[in-house]
Amino acid sequence: MKFGYVSCLPETPLITRFVEELNNGRLMGTKCEKCGAKYLPPRAHCKCGSADIKWYEAPRRGKILTYTPVVVPPESMSKYAPYMVAVVKLEDKTRLLAQLTGVTLNMLRVGMLVQVITRRVGADRIAYEFKLV
């Protein structure tokens, strides 16, 4: 299974593991065993230089920091437009970008509560997305 609505990178062990977990309903980030830094989405290496990382399950609730509706999409996303993208601060203060579904522009405000859910895209693709709580 591939990650995202569209992609232009090959599937590496990191993304394969992430996608497997997401498919089972778990949103996984990585944590550096050396300095404690947390990454969501996950990274194979910490910015401190360490490759000593451990997977952790991220919280699924957060608040909208900002959002915008994309009306003019990249060519590759034409069949999905228009759609909303948002940046959300999760309960553990990590921040995540994804599409925000089931909303209209005029019902949205900064600070609204959202949940992160698994989203299947067609037969062979998967992503996470935000839904208002």
Binding site: F3, G4, Y5, V6, S7, C8, L9, I15, P41, L65, T66, Y67, T68, P69, V70, V71, V72, P73, P74, E75, S76, M77, S78, Y80, A81, Y83, V85, A86, V87, R95, L96, L97, A98, Q99, L105, R109, V110, A127
Partner: protein, 385 residues
């Protein structure tokens, strides 16, 4: 090593939808004018730094060599700079360093890009891949969407209005109408700006810069050569550069470009000035919100007061700090690699007193501010007579 580095020649190609030229001819147009302005021959130049942001736009791998060879630089050294939308300014900092280090006395800087041949959707797709292609692009983010998210955050936090965003566009179109090299030379009203079609709320068509073709060239030289070549060399007295996280979600704040604040502090420090001494500035207005954040991050006004700054016309000629007197990216166009070099040309004209109807009277100190992506690159230059 103690010599100053000066701008000894400038040349600007017409920005626009240039179906009459490809990268090489556009670059030639700019270089010819820069050599004419400097009254030198291409043989008098020691090396070139060529700024082209993107192979897909150029439809050419190794585009710098194409330009270097086409304009007759022969076997001289050629370097390519790439810094997304700030490519032109990266090229200037690289050329400055070559001169300062004594590796070259006279360096030709060319910024060029051809974008319109791809069409809007394809061009949007290419630029979208300047977002993280693993974790952002797969959700359909676009460059307008990143700045729109910052605009929404700024409006929420500081009460900035859509009307204030449109006011930036009105100003830049007014000055662009006086610039013969601008892509769109047409003044617009506030109503026209506000009623244009929505791209990414709160940004509509007139809040977004254009997709353009264009080129710009400058000749940089050490103090001795600059004085010999030019009667009115303009000195690069302060340079600053900074970077930021690749992903927008990693930013602690969405209402400023931290890279701008870091870069400008370095540049002011090196030039020994404060924001108050800047007589004229060109800033990175890829979107109207970017110009409003630039007023704040460059210190022209307090944080959160950028909307008021344009509303009170403080960034018009006659205001506190005139900004984007050449029409900015908004109306002049934004051929990625050419933009930063074009900014240097506008400030050079202003400090030489050659800006015509757009002249800021008695301008002695200028500033250019060029951002790549959403602050992953930022370059600030200070200029003086």
């Amino acid at each position: 090593m103690t010599q100053k580095v000066g701008i000894a020649g400038i040349g600007h190609a017409k920005f626009g939808k240039r179906t009459d030229a490809t990268l090489r001819e556009l670059a030639h147009e700019a270089v010819t004018r820069a050599l004419e302005d400097a009254k030198i021959n291409v043989k008098d130049i020691d090396a070139s730094v060529i700024g082209v942001a993107c192979e897909e736009f150029a439809a050419q791998v190794s585009p710098a060599v194409l330009v270097h060879d086409y304009v007759g630089m022969g076997n001289k050294p050629v370097f390519r700079a790439e810094a997304a939308c700030a490519t032109g300014s990266a090229a200037i900092q690289a050329a400055w360093s070559l001169v300062k280090a004594g590796l070259a006395d006279v360096v030709l800087v060319v910024g060029a890009e051809t974008m319109t041949h791809l069409g809007t959707l394809k061009a949007t797709d290419v630029i979208a891949r300047a977002g993280d292609t693993r974790w952002e692009y797969p959700f359909g983010t676009t460059f307008p969407s990143f700045y729109a998210m910052m605009a929404n955050a700024h409006m929420h936090q500081y009460g900035t209005t859509r009307e204030q965003l449109s006011m930036v566009s009105v100003k830049n179109h007014m000055y662009g109408a006086m610039n013969p090299y601008a892509h769109i030379q047409k003044a617009i009203t506030l109503e026209e700006a506000m009623k244009s079609s929505m791209i990414c709320y709160p940004l509509n068509l007139y809040d977004c810069c254009l997709i353009s073709d264009g080129a710009a060239a400058v000749v940089l030289a050490n103090e001795e050569k600059a004085k010999k070549i030019s009667d009115t060399p303009i000195w690069l007295t302060g340079l600053g550069a900074a970077s930021d996280t690749m992903m927008i979600s990693e930013r602690e704040t969405l209402t400023e470009l931290r890279a701008t604040k870091i870069a400008v502090e370095k540049a002011y420090g090196m030039a020994g000035i404060t924001s108050r001494e800047v007589d004229v500035a060109v800033v990175h207005d890829c979107f109207t919100i970017a110009e409003i954040m630039a007023y704040e991050d460059l210190g022209f006004c307090k944080k959160g007061k950028g909307g008021k700054f344009i509303e009170e016309k403080q960034s018009y000629i006659g205001g506190k700090t005139p900004v984007n007197t050449d029409g900015g990216l908004k109306s002049k166009g934004h051929p990625l690699g050419a933009t930063g070099v074009s900014m240097t040309i506008e400030i050079t004209k202003q400090l030489r007193g050659e800006a015509g109807k757009r002249q800021v009277n008695g301008a002695e100190i200028g500033l250019s501010h060029n951002v790549g992506q959403i602050g992953q690159y930022c370059f600030v230059h200070i200029y003086s007579r």
